[in-house]
């Protein structure tokens, strides 16, 4: 965990347990913390806006489903908080398969925000999430500001939700409404400082829940976007979503993903993610949830 605090104020989360064995346990963190504090016990408690976390270990949206899928494998109560797969207003079918391609030390994905829509999420998934006993952060997404606002209003009425993560940075839903493999260069909200500000502000005006804007690394200057999100009223930032990328099958000379382009994650992007976090952390004062290539390893 040496890089747990690369700079002051930066929080790193540790997430998907697919690759390495992933105990995700508090004890391990505590032990590490003890090492760094010469045996003096330190608390791992941390705060994100109004949310109190027992420890700073969270899961990244989309890698952990709605937690129930991992219930038999991971002691969910040991997590600091759970972030759900991104939910949209209406159900989404997602992209054409193949949706996953392995690349050197990384994965390309183009799931395309497949999800049951907010109503089914509340009816079916939230019931389980509420019972776990750790803060639940619901990731929300959409094409327009109005969709985010409507989702926010709907979810703010429900009990058991501590915060909203605003996924304004998913690279896989460009043209997602048409169920066709398409790679367009339509702009993401998180690629425009004004749109980011407007969206965060509009959501802020409609909820008291803790807000976390999730930003895209596919920009020239992420600090500007981060500042817009802060100005709009974001309580914390999630850095970063995946890098827009693609892979080609040299035998068939065709793209490997059904959607042609996708998002790169995994250890391959860790140095890139780390630099982004560092850059933003120097300029803004709100907590940062770091992600990108973090796998949990027990040596």
């Amino acid at each position: 965990m040496a890089e747990m605090n690369p700079v002051k104020k930066v929080r790193r989360d540790i997430k998907h347990p697919w690759g390495k064995s992933a105990p995700l346990d508090n004890e391990y963190l505590t032990r590490q913390a003890e090492c760094f504090s010469n045996g003096v016990k330190i608390s791992l408690e941390t705060k994100l806006g109004k949310i109190k976390l027992r420890n700073p270990v969270m899961v990244a949206s989309g890698t952990f489903g709605y937690a129930e899928e991992f219930a038999e494998l991971v002691d969910l109560k040991k997590l600091g908080a759970i972030v759900t797969k991104t939910i949209t207003l209406n159900p989404r079918k997602g992209n054409l398969p193949p949706r996953i391609v392995e690349t050197p030390c990384g994965i390309l994905n183009a799931i395309g925000l497949e999800n049951p829509g907010v109503e089914d999420f509340i009816q079916e998934k939230l019931l389980f999430l509420k019972k776990i006993g750790v803060p639940i952060i619901v990731s929300i997404g959409g094409d327009k500001i109005e969709e985010f606002v409507e989702l926010t209003r709907r979810l703010s009425k429900e009990e058991g939700i501590s915060g909203l993560e605003l996924n304004i940075s998913c690279p896989n839903v460009q043209q997602a409404t048409s169920h066709k493999p398409q790679a367009t260069s339509q702009k993401l909200i998180a690629q425009d400082e004004d749109a980011t500000y407007e969206l965060v502000k509009a959501v802020r005006e409609n909820t008291n829940l803790t807000l976390i804007a999730k930003l895209s690394p596919n920009v020239t200057d992420i600090v500007t976007i981060a500042k817009s999100a802060v100005k709009g009223g974001s309580d914390a930032l999630s850095l970063i979503n995946t890098f827009s990328a693609m892979a080609i099958d040299i035998e068939t000379r065709k793209p490997k993903l059904g959607n042609i382009i996708g998002g790169l994650s995994g250890p391959a992007i860790k140095p890139l993610a780390l630099k982004t976090v560092w850059e933003v952390a120097q300029q803004i004062d709100i907590p940062i949830i770091g992600m990108g290539g973090r796998l949990f390893e027990k040596k």
Binding site: G65, P98, R99, I100, G106, I111, G266, P267
Partner: protein, 301 residues
């Protein structure tokens, strides 16, 4: 219950060129496993390859001396991950998650009807475990009531014939090059067997040569292999109106149903099949809702 453990490799041996059998000490996984389910193996100790590799549970056997259940996988060396597996020695530890997925659901059959198991290449792997279970469920008197069709490229690559025979199955083999038994694809062999006992044979379709088989008529099909083969089997099953389940492969990430990365197009369930437009479909997850599916629900690409 899904578990993640460091299991000890008991043995890892080549059975024919490029095909290996690995035996693992993982009683907790073995006890829960059902035919058609798989384990998800972390082949490397580092980040490359990053993702786990899926292998069907091939065989469960009880080790007499220690009275522990051991589990075998049968794998073909294909790429990076399987090449690392080949190097694993007895005594080394392997990080596995399992048992995962939904396996075969056994059709209830009267004793006058027989199931047929069709395996192509390394697709034979889950069928040995399935045959074990089918044999266990049959009454002793009705032994030898399972028909197994094995498809292989050449005589050298015929897998698991002895295992099936030991379980009392009737085994037929098809080789692509005709180096042993029936020359042709295993799907052709299947049709030779289905057609004579059925009036549903496609008109004008000439059968090569009658295959003698004591187990007719066949009542249901369980199959695993490359997807073009499974697609043909699904067509035969539909033509001959025989229920059929197949085990599919898709590229996976999480393996437990969380990421929706491994999806397959299927026909939406009732209640409104009549209102359904032909283009209508839903996605199911191969890792969690499968890997075994009824062929009737699959929308083939």
């Amino acid at each position: 219950m899904i578990i993640q453990i460091l299991s000890k490799v008991i043995s890892n041996t080549q059975i024919v060129e490029n095909y290996f059998k690995m035996c693992l000490d993982a009683p907790a996984v073995a006890q829960k496993a059902e035919p058609g389910q798989f384990i998800y193996v972390h082949t490397s100790d580092g980040y490359q390859p990053l993702l786990r590799r899926a292998f069907s549970i091939h065989n469960i056997r009880r080790e007499k001396r220690e009275n522990r259940e051991q589990m075998e996988i049968l794998y073909k060396v294909r790429g990076e991950g399987t090449r690392i597996l080949v190097e694993k020695k007895a005594g080394e530890k392997l990080d596995i998650i399992g048992p995962l997925g939904k396996g075969f659901t056994l059709y209830p059959l009267p004793s006058t009807l027989y199931p047929v198991l069709v395996g192509g290449g390394v697709g034979i792997a889950p069928l040995v475990f399935l045959a074990q279970n089918l044999a266990k469920n049959q009454k002793p008197k009705t032994k030898n009531r399972i028909l197994v069709l094995i498809g292989a490229k050449t005589k050298k690559e015929i897998l698991c014939k002895d295992e099936f025979e030991r379980l009392g199955c009737e085994v037929k083999v098809a080789t692509d090059d005709g180096s042993q038994s029936f020359k042709g694809k295993v799907t052709e062999l299947l049709e030779e067997i289905l057609a004579p006992s059925s009036k549903l044979q496609a008109p004008g379709r000439e059968l090569k040569k009658p295959v003698t088989c004591s187990l007719q008529p066949v009542a249901c099909i369980y199959a695993c292999g490359p997807s073009p083969m499974l697609k043909e089997i699904a067509q035969l099953a539909q033509q001959y109106k025989i229920p059929c389940q197949v085990s599919l492969e898709e590229r996976m990430a999480c393996g437990v149903g969380a990421c929706r990365g491994c999806v397959l197009k299927v026909v939406p369930p009732p209640p409104s099949p009549l209102l359904r437009s032909p283009q209508d479909f839903i996605y199911k997850r191969v890792c969690k809702d499968g890997p075994v599916f009824e062929t009737g629900e699959i929308i083939w690409e």
